[in-house]
């Protein structure tokens, strides 16, 4: 007869095993509290209170200033208008990808989503160089403008256009998911009733995808508000102040004395973001959310229109991706900005400088690299545990975790930067050292800012794991950490690694939080482009930008190659 295994170790086991789980849960709660809840509270306190209580007078003066009202107004205008642009481009693209049988869709999607992964400051620089009066590519095409003309992108319209195009892939991602969920039979019924493809699209498919469209619009709106790279690269030279550039310029120029007012502006920024998110949530509630029925979409054949549509799509991609990037590449290959690229002028000295000679660049890159790697490692671990509790456990502490991880996500990067300065400017109690000016403050900000980014794919990974697999391990006698190692981790690992890659790509070039937190001693690579461009080293900046894009491209291709090990829907750039 078989002997019983469990009775031996049982008496001491329950207490210890229960507490391993409790300890992890408590640590996670502490993490969320310190990276999400505490910064928000500190921000509100600094914004609203002075030494003498509620800072009514200071706030009144701040909001009476013309720059402030202009910044708020510009922010709203730019965000709304660019959302419209994103919505138009992204929806058209999503409909074409989901609802037609055009060839080469995978490549189309890859090329369309790629710009989302390029840091916005690099995109902005590429566009600036491509469409400047002395543009290397426009010149080569014989389209160059007269020297001395004002740069067309240095304007409010330029910011709107570029933000709109930059965020269009976000709309595409949200829309394609929602289009795929529309039951096939609804569209087929309309076809059977005699409606042509375009009519089905306009009267059945798009109205049904309304929920997705609202969600997509909210995403684009929120990202536009918080996009520092484009607003700074175009808005500062164009003298179009927005909230985000105001905050940066004031803190940069005035130092800590500007903090209370800038905390107030950060709160306005946060309020706008939250309004965008809530609006979408409200609209989403009223929508009929159907279950996914096999996720097969109606394929409308474009017939003879096919080649025309394809030509337009690729034309758009050439104009929005290839042209700016090739301008960037050209600039990076010539010794001085504005020189044409010829056999005589071509040089790799910018790359050599970026990679080997410029000590500040190399240091910045190395700082970014280790900060990012530590962030990625930590967040992979944290999100796997957090995902476990959020997916499978209930209780007040779990609700707090949920709220906290969502809240950190809605905080725009620059707001997080201000909050982090406020939180860590004063010496830490007990140690007597201020984290401000050290890389650790940047690390804390990265962890806070990217927690939700890492968590999202991990949660979708957990949703695809059968809970009984864990329960079976529990029944086999495995305690919490043992189950985590033997059963959960092997199942969630591919997703966690994908989440790590996504965080890596975003963090390595991060700009908006870093730009407030870096100091002469610790710089990261993301903001360097702005400094180089401001300092007139455009060709070097272009080389750095190109290197960033190469790196991103490499990682994306690598992840696509490994995608068969991943659950569905984890990589955004995969069709």
């Amino acid at each position: 007869m078989t002997l019983t295994l469990h009775s031996k170790g049982a008496p001491r086991a329950p207490l210890f095993r229960l507490s391993a789980e409790t300890i992890v849960l408590a640590l996670l709660a502490l993490l969320i509290l310190s990276v999400s809840v505490a910064p928000m509270l500190r921000l509100a306190q600094a914004a609203l209170f002075d030494d003498g209580g509620l800072a009514v007078e200071r706030l009144a003066r701040l909001f009476a200033r013309p720059q402030t009202t202009a910044a708020i107004w510009n922010t709203i205008q730019i965000a709304l208008a660019s959302t419209l642009v994103s919505l138009l481009v992204g929806t058209v693209f999503a409909v074409i990808v989901v609802q037609t049988d055009l060839p080469g869709k995978s490549a189309l999607v890859f090329a369309f989503v790629l710009p989302l992964m390029i840091p916005p400051q690099v995109t902005a620089m590429a566009w600036i160089q491509a469409f400047s009066p002395s543009s290397p590519v426009l010149g080569a095409l014989g389209l160059s403008m007269e020297a001395g003309t004002r740069h067309p992108l240095y304007s409010k319209a330029g910011i709107i256009l570029l933000l709109g195009i930059y965020n269009a892939p976000l709309v595409y991602l949200a829309m394609q998911a929602s289009l795929r969920r529309i039951p096939l039979d609804l569209a087929e019924a309309a076809r059977a009733a005699g409606a042509g493809p375009v009519r089905v699209l306009l009267t059945v498919i798009l109205p049904l995808a309304r929920g997705g469209m609202v969600a997509a619009a909210s995403l684009a709106f929120v990202s536009a508000i918080g996009n520092f790279g484009i607003q700074a690269m175009l808005g500062i030279p164009a003298r179009v102040p927005t909230l985000i550039t105001q905050i940066y310029q004031q803190i940069n120029g005035l130092g800590p004395s500007a903090l209370p007012n800038m905390a107030a502006l950060s709160m306005v920024l946060t309020a706008l973001t939250v309004a965008g998110v809530l609006l979408a949530a409200r609209a989403g509630e009223r929508n009929d959310t159907r279950v996914d029925l096999g996720s097969r979409a109606l394929v409308l054949s474009p017939g003879r229109g096919g080649p025309v549509i394809l030509a337009l799509l690729w034309g758009y991609l050439v104009l929005s991706l290839l042209l700016p990037l090739s301008a960037l590449l050209q600039s990076s290959l010539v010794p001085a900005y504005g020189l044409p690229l010829t056999a005589e002028t071509v040089t790799l000295k910018n790359y050599a400088a970026a990679l080997f000679r410029q000590v500040s660049l190399r240091d910045a890159f190395l700082t970014s690299l280790w900060l990012t790697l530590v962030t990625v490692g930590f967040l992979m671990l944290a999100s796997v545990f957090l995902g476990y509790f959020l997916t499978w456990r209930r209780g007040p502490l779990v609700r707090l975790l949920h709220f906290g991880s969502e809240a950190a996500y809605t905080l725009p990067g620059i707001t997080l930067g201000v909050a982090m300065i406020l939180l860590f400017l004063r010496p830490l109690p007990g140690i007597g050292v201020s984290l401000y000016g050290t890389p650790w403050i940047i690390l804390a900000a990265y962890v806070a800012g990217f927690l939700a980014l890492a968590l999202r794919p991990v949660l979708s990974g957990y949703a695809q794991i059968d809970r009984t697999l864990e329960e079976a391990a529990q029944v086999a006698g495995a305690g919490f950490l043992r189950r985590m190692r033997d059963v959960i981790w092997p199942l969630i690992a591919p997703t966690a690694i994908a989440a790590g890659v996504i965080v890596f790509m975003t963090a390595i070039n991060e700009i908006q939080t870093s730009i407030l937190l870096i100091s002469s001693g610790t710089r990261t690579i993301g903001p360097m482009i702005i400094f180089l461009e401001e300092g007139g080293a455009s060709t070097l900046a272009a080389a750095v930008g190109c290197l960033m894009i190469f790196g991103i491209l490499l990682l994306m291709l690598l992840s696509v190659a490994l995608s068969r090990f991943l659950p569905k829907g984890v990589l955004p750039w995969q069709f």
Partner: protein, 382 residues
């Protein structure tokens, strides 16, 4: 050997009361099936026994160790039970042998002993050639057998099974039923087997616990359950039973009574302690209704409809004495079966007087923390 005792178990999810007043005593080595309609709380009961959830009231005792109730809550990993999940729950990243040996590894058994026990368990379910395969490369029946081997190897002496056959096709079910029999015989473990399939429960279990709406209605051997249902719900549920109202029930002693059914005085089986009542319920089964012999006084009933079932006819009849009733009957295939409209004389081969339901049980009285001795006795049918 581990027996299992549930005392006065109650469980609610928010406002909904999912389980109430469950008392159940399972002897070591017994095979008990838990039978009930969908949503009656079977899975909830199993999760309480396993330790995935905590009962709101009552206690659970495994062997002589209390594992839940009051301040005690032993986590599943320390209860030493085995579970066969409906979805098999085999770890996809481990081979068959690794799946089977996982509990032994967690318990830090020496490698050689682990290997012998895994080999023996795999041999017992005829899966030795599949030891190195991944679960993904197995058929449904093979996966189910891996899940069984996992319990075998772990040496759990209490194994819970939640509708283990629900995912398998009909042919495989018969084969797996045999497998469960063998598993029970060779492991000697106590088995709690959840199902909503009566014939499965009848074929496998020593005793069947019938549940409905979060309550335990009766726990008895399959034969007792069929012949002596404790209340009208069980009577109607088991074997397509019929529940008929009778008047003037009079026990005659020795488990026999008489009563008026549809205008005729008939004999019934009844409890030894049955009391005389003016109104009562009797239960019977379609198979126990037949056409009265020429010398018998039958109950006149008219044929409403008949259906050919291949080798037999099934009839629907309406007794003349009570046109609101419908009685089913089955007749062998003959050349001249009675036509619809014909008047037949019926007789009952077997009738059982349903005992008076315990008031606190069937009328939803609040759970008392001290179950009456009578109740405990009734459901401790060993």
């Amino acid at each position: 050997m581990t027996g299992l005792r549930l005392s006065n178990i109650g469980k609610s999810y928010g406002e909904t009361r999912v389980l109430a007043n469950i008392d159940l005593d399972i002897a070591a080595g017994e095979f008990v099936a838990v039978l009930g309609p969908s949503g009656c709380g079977k899975t909830t009961l199993l999760r309480l026994i396993a330790g995935f959830d905590k009962p709101d009231e009552g206690t659970i005792t495994l062997g002589d160790r209390q594992v839940a109730g009051g301040k005690v809550m032993v986590p599943p990993e320390a209860r030493g039970i085995g579970i066969v999940f409906q979805s098999y729950a085999l770890w996809p990243h481990m081979s068959v042998a690794e799946n089977v040996g996982y509990a032994l590894k967690v318990a830090r058994l020496p490698r050689t002993e682990r290997e012998t026990r895994v080999a023996r368990a795999l041999d017992m379910v005829n899966l030795t050639p599949f030891a190195t395969r991944r679960p993904a490369d197995l058929s449904g029946g093979q996966r189910q057998r891996v899940a069984l081997a996992r319990c075998l190897a772990a040496g759990s002496d209490l194994v819970l099974l939640d509708e283990p056959l629900a995912n398998l096709d009909v042919h495989l079910r018969a084969a797996m039923e045999e497998e469960f029999h063998r598993f029970h015989r060779e492991s000697g473990a106590t088995l709690v087997y959840i199902t909503h399939d009566q014939s499965e429960a009848m074929a496998l279990a020593d005793r069947i616990a019938v549940m409905d709406k979060g309550r335990l209605l009766q726990c008895a051997s399959p034969r007792d359950l069929y012949r002596e249902p404790a209340d009208a719900t069980v009577a109607g549920f088991i074997g397509g039973g019929l529940v008929l109202p009778v008047d003037d029930l009079r026990p005659l002693g020795h488990g026999i009574a008489t009563a008026d059914l549809l205008g005729r005085r008939l004999r019934l089986r009844c409890h030894a302690g049955e009391t005389a009542r003016s109104l009562a319920m009797a239960s019977t089964h379609p198979a126990d209704i037949h056409i009265a012999a020429p010398d018998e006084t039958g109950i006149p009933a008219r044929v409403i409809a008949r259906t050919y079932r291949g080798g037999s006819w099934s009839y629907e009849l309406r007794p003349e004495a009570d046109p609101t009733l419908k009685l089913p009957m089955s007749l062998p295939d003959t050349a001249t079966p009675p036509e619809p409209g014909a008047l037949l004389e019926l007789a009952f081969r077997d009738l059982w007087a349903i005992p008076l339901a315990d008031a606190s049980r069937s009328h939803g009285a609040p759970p008392s923390s001290f179950p009456s001795p009578h109740l405990t006795e009734q459901f401790q049918c060993a």
